[in-house]
C-alpha cells in the first residue's frame, strides 16, 4: 500500500495515517514530454555509480567511536573498552562489534580537520567543501548537488535524495550550506522522511492533499498548481520550490518511484537487520535508492544537532551532556547495526563496489571530558568511515596524536573529502573545471584505487 498527500507506505503493522490519495496499479503515468518528462541520465565516469553519505549531524566523538585512546588518562579515554577488528592497527570502542567484525569492508580516516567549531558553519563547510564566499553565508553547492548537476538526469527518480527528519538545523537556526547553495534551490535534494517503522513521507507533496486521484494524474492541473504557487510568491525561492515539487511529483507518479520508496517490499528480516531506528530504516531506503541508480543519497542522522531539545529532540550527536549515556544507550548500537547492515546488504547484492559509502560528521568532540561529563566541539581532528565505490578497504588512514587532540599526519580537509567523493562519483578534474568547482581539489592519498 502506498499513499500520497500526507502519504506513507504501510509499515509492517499496517499502521497508516489518514491520506487523501491512494495510488493503485492502474494509476496513469505522467506524460513523457514537457517539464515532467523523463530522460536518460549522464553515465557515471567514476568508480561509484552512486554515493551514500551518512551525515552524522552534531559531531560524533572520535574517541568514543573509531579513534579510541585506551592508554590515555581516564579524563580523556572515557569509560569504554576497545575491540580489535579485522584490520591491523584498528581498534574501535566496544559499542561497535558489528563494524569491528567487518572492518575489511571499509577504511577509517583519523585525521580530518574542519575550520570552525560552530555547527552551522562547520556543517555547511563539510557538506559543500569550502567556506562561504561572504563569510558564513553564500556557500557553494553541496557535494550531492554537484553530483546531481553533473549527472543531469531527468528521469522518474531524482538525482539527489536527502533522507532526513527535516531540514538540517541547530537551536540557533537553519543550516545554509545544505543544498544547492549559490547554484540555487533547483539543486537542492528531494527531501524524504523515513520513520523508525519505515513509513515514508515526502513533505514537498503536501500541496497535493485534497486532490482526487484522477485529478492528480491530470498533468495540466499539476502545471496549473505550480503556476499558481509561483504567482503567489513570484521569486526565486518559490520557483525553486516548484522545481523540487515537480521532481517529487515525477517520482511519485512513476511506477519505479512508488516501488522504490515502499519499504514493505523488503523482507522483514532484511528490514530488521537495519534496526528499528530512523537512521537504520533510512539506510535501508538509501540502499533501495542506489539499487534504482539514484546517484546521490544523503541520510541525515537527525534534523537537529542537539542531543536533547525538548519537543524537537531527535538525538543528534551534539553530546555536551550525557555523551557516554547516549553513546551506550542509542548512538553506538544504532550506528553499528545500521552501517553494518548497509555494507552487508550492498555487498550481498553486488552493489558495494559501485556505491561509495561515507559516514562523517562536521567535527569531532573534545578529548578531555568536560565538567558536564560530556564532550564539546572539536574541529581540530575527527574520524570518518569510507567503503565501496573504489575505496581500498581494510585501512586506517591518517593518525591523531596520543590524546586525540590533533592530526600528526597531514590533515584531511573538507575540500579533500568533497573532491574525493566527486572524483569517485565521476565528477573528474575536467568536469569540475566545467562546473567551476574544486578545480584545484585534491583526492585523499591512498584511500581509493
Amino acid at each position: 500500500m502506498f499513499e500520497v498527500g500526507s502519504f506513507r507506505s504501510h509499515d509492517c503493522h499496517g499502521v497508516s495515517r489518514r491520506a487523501l490519495l491512494k495510488f493503485g496499479a492502474a494509476l496513469p503515468l505522467v506524460s513523457a514530454s514537457g517539464d515532467l518528462s523523463a530522460a536518460e541520465p549522464a553515465a557515471a565516469a567514476g568508480a561509484a555509480r552512486s554515493v551514500i553519505l551518512l551525515w552524522l549531524w552534531g559531531g560524533p566523538s572520535h574517541l568514543d567511536t573509531f579513534d579510541p585512546k585506551p592508554d590515555a588518562p581516564q579524563e580523556i579515554r572515557g569509560p569504554f573498552s576497545t575491540l580489535s577488528t579485522r584490520t591491523p592497527g584498528l581498534r574501535v570502542t566496544e559499542l561497535f562489534p558489528r563494524l569491528a567484525a567487518r572492518s575489511d569492508r571499509f577504511s577509517i580516516i583519523r585525521s580530518h580537520r574542519n575550520h570552525t567549531s560552530v555547527h552551522r558553519v562547520a556543517g555547511s563547510i563539510a557538506l559543500s567543501g569550502g567556506k562561504g564566499a561572504a563569510g558564513n553565508s553564500d556557500y557553494g553547492p553541496t557535494v550531492g548537488s554537484i553530483v546531481q548537476r553533473h549527472r543531469g538526469g531527468d528521469g522518474a527518480l531524482p538525482q539527489f535524495v536527502s533522507i532526513t527528519p527535516g531540514p538540517l538545523k541547530t537551536a540557533l537556526g537553519s543550516v545554509e550550506g545544505s543544498g544547492g547553495g549559490r547554484w540555487g534551490r533547483a539543486y537542492d535534494p528531494v527531501s524524504v522522511r523515513c520513520s523508525d517503522t519505515g513509513a515514508v513521507d515526502i513533505p514537498s507533496l503536501r500541496l497535493l492533499e485534497g486532490l482526487q486521484l484522477e485529478r492528480l494524474a491530470d498533468r495540466r492541473l499539476l502545471l496549473g498548481l505550480l503556476d499558481r504557487t509561483t504567482a503567489l510568491a513570484n521569486d526565486a525561492k518559490s520557483a525553486a520550490w516548484s522545481d523540487s515539487f515537480a521532481r517529487a511529483y515525477r517520482l511519485l507518479t512513476s511506477v519505479e518511484g512508488r516501488r522504490v520508496f515502499d519499504l514493505t517490499r523488503e523482507r522483514p528480516e532484511v528490514r530488521g537487520r537495519y534496526g528499528s531506528s530512523v537512521f537504520g530504516q533510512g539506510c535501508l531506503l538509501a540502499r533501495r535508492l542506489v539499487e534504482a541508480e539514484v546517484p546521490f543519497v544523503q541520510v541525515n542522522w537527525s534534523q537537529y544537532v542537539e542531543n536533547i531539545y525538548g519537543t524537537r529532540t531527535d538525538f543528534g550527536w551534539d553530546t555536551h551532556w550525557l555523551n557516554f549515556e547516549h553513546m551506550a544507550d542509542r548512538h553506538g548500537p544504532i550506528l553499528d547495526r545500521a552501517v553494518s547492515a548497509l555494507l552487508d546488504d550492498l555487498a550481498d547484492r553486488g552493489l558495494l563496489e559501485q556505491t561509495l559509502v561515507v559516514a562523517i560528521g562536521e567535527f569531532g568532540r573534545t578529548p578531555k571530558i568536560s565538567g558536564n561529563a560530556g564532550r564539546d566541539h572539536w574541529p581540530a581532528v575527527y574520524s570518518s568511515l569510507w567503503a565501496g565505490g573504489g575505496v581500498i578497504p581494510g585501512q586506517v588512514l591518517g593518525q591523531s596524536d596520543e590524546r586525540a587532540y590533533a592530526p600528526v599526519t597531514e590533515p584531511i580537509t573538507p575540500e579533500m573529502v568533497v573532491t574525493t567523493i566527486l572524483q569517485q562519483a565521476g565528477v573528474d578534474t575536467e568536469s569540475r573545471a566545467e562546473l567551476r568547482v574544486f578545480e584545484e581539489g585534491r583526492v585523499i592519498d591512498g584511500l581509493v584505487s
Binding site: Q74, S81, E94, P97, S276, I308, T311, L322, P333
Partner: protein
C-alpha cells in the same frame, strides 16, 4: 551437579522467554508496579519523541502513562511496589540540553522539579520510603533529600559513576563506575561507607537492578560488544559469579525484576525489533552454582 544443570535447563527449555510487546520500536527502562500487574516503560514515539507507556500485564494492552505529556519523558521509577502511597520520579526533556528530574510524592500529587546546579540529572532511583532520590549529575552520584532539598555526594571518585539503584531495604546503593578504568559494578552503603566492587570483567557492567529480596542483582554486561543480561548474587560476604541469562547475539538491556523474584523483564532486540521480554530465572541464578542453563560469563 550435572543432574542439577539438566533439571533447571529443562525447566528453561519448557518455558521460553515470553514477549510482552510487539510494536518493535525502541524501548528502555521497564519497571514493574502494582505487585507486577503493570509495567511502565519508555518507548520511541513520533511526537513527543519518547513516551512512558503502561502495560497491563493481564490484558497485555499498552497505553500512554502520561497522555497529557507533550515533552519527551522517560525513566519512571517508583519508591515501592504498592498501589497506594508510592512516590514516583521520572525525567522530562524540557529544552536545549535541559532534562528535568521530577518527583511526585504520591499518585495524584503535583509534580515537583528537583533543582540541581546543572541542568541534566539522569538515572534516578528512589529510596523505598520515598524520602530521597539518588541520581547521576554530570557523571557523579548525588543523594537528594526531598524534604530539605539538600544534596550530598555518594561514592564520588575519578571517572564516571552512574546508574544508581537503591536496594529494597534502602541501606545500599548499587551503581556502575569507571573508577578502575573499565566500567564495573559497585555497591556502597546509603550513608557512603563500605564500598565494595562486585564485578571484575572487561567490558561495560551497568544498569544494576535489585531483586525484591535484595539478594541478587540483574544488570547489563557488554561482552565483546554484545549487550547481555547477567544476574549475580550479592547476598553474602562475597558476590557470586555473574551468569548470563539472556544469551542472544542481539542486544539485551534494561533489566528489571518482578516483585516475586523469579522473573526478569528486559528490552530484547530480536530481528532488529525491540520488545519487552519476560523470562523465569532459576532461583539459584547468580548464586555461583552453575545451574539454570545459564552461561558463565
Amino acid at each position: 551437579m550435572v543432574l542439577l544443570v539438566a533439571m533447571v535447563s529443562g525447566t528453561l527449555a519448557a518455558r521460553p522467554p515470553h514477549r510482552l510487546t510487539s510494536d518493535g520500536r525502541n524501548k528502555r527502562d521497564p519497571v514493574y508496579i502494582d505487585s507486577g500487574r503493570r509495567i511502565i516503560y519508555t518507548v520511541q514515539s513520533d511526537a513527543p519523541r519518547l513516551v512512558l507507556m503502561s502495560l497491563d500485564r493481564k490484558t497485555q494492552e499498552s497505553r500512554r502513562f502520561a497522555p497529557q505529556a507533550t515533552l519527551p519523558e522517560l525513566k519512571a521509577v517508583f519508591s515501592r511496589d504498592a498501589r497506594d502511597g508510592r512516590s514516583s520520579a521520572w525525567l522530562r526533556m524540557t529544552g536545549n540540553d535541559q532534562v528535568a528530574l521530577l518527583v511526585r510524592a504520591k499518585p495524584g500529587a503535583s509534580e515537583r522539579k528537583i533543582k540541581t546546579a546543572k541542568s541534566v540529572a539522569w538515572s534516578p532511583s528512589l529510596t523505598p520510603d520515598g524520602r530521597h532520590v539518588v541520581f547521576n549529575l554530570a557523571g557523579q552520584l548525588v543523594v537528594h533529600e526531598l524534604s530539605t532539598g539538600k544534596n550530598r555526594d555518594l561514592a564520588k571518585s575519578s571517572g564516571r559513576n552512574d546508574w544508581p539503584a537503591v536496594s529494597p531495604d534502602g541501606r545500599r546503593v548499587a551503581f556502575g563506575s569507571s573508577r578502575s578504568g573499565d566500567v564495573e559494578l559497585y555497591v556502597v552503603d546509603f550513608g557512603g561507607g563500605n564500598l565494595r566492587r562486585l564485578t571484575h570483567r572487561k567490558g561495560l557492567d551497568m544498569r544494576p537492578a535489585w531483586s525484591s529480596d535484595g539478594r541478587r542483582l540483574a544488570f547489563t554486561s557488554v561482552r565483546a560488544g554484545n549487550y547481555e543480561i547477567s544476574v549475580m548474587s550479592v547476598g553474602g560476604a562475597v558476590a557470586g559469579e555473574p551468569v548470563n541469562v539472556s544469551r542472544d547475539a542481539e542486544r539485551d538491556d534494561f533489566a528489571a525484576w518482578h516483585p516475586g523474584g523469579r522473573r526478569l523483564l528486559w528490552v530484547a532486540e530480536r530481528g532488529g525489533r525491540q520488545d519487552l521480554l519476560e523470562a523465569e530465572v532459576p532461583v539459584d541464578g547468580g548464586e555461583g552454582k552453575g545451574g539454570g542453563g545459564v552461561q558463565r560469563d
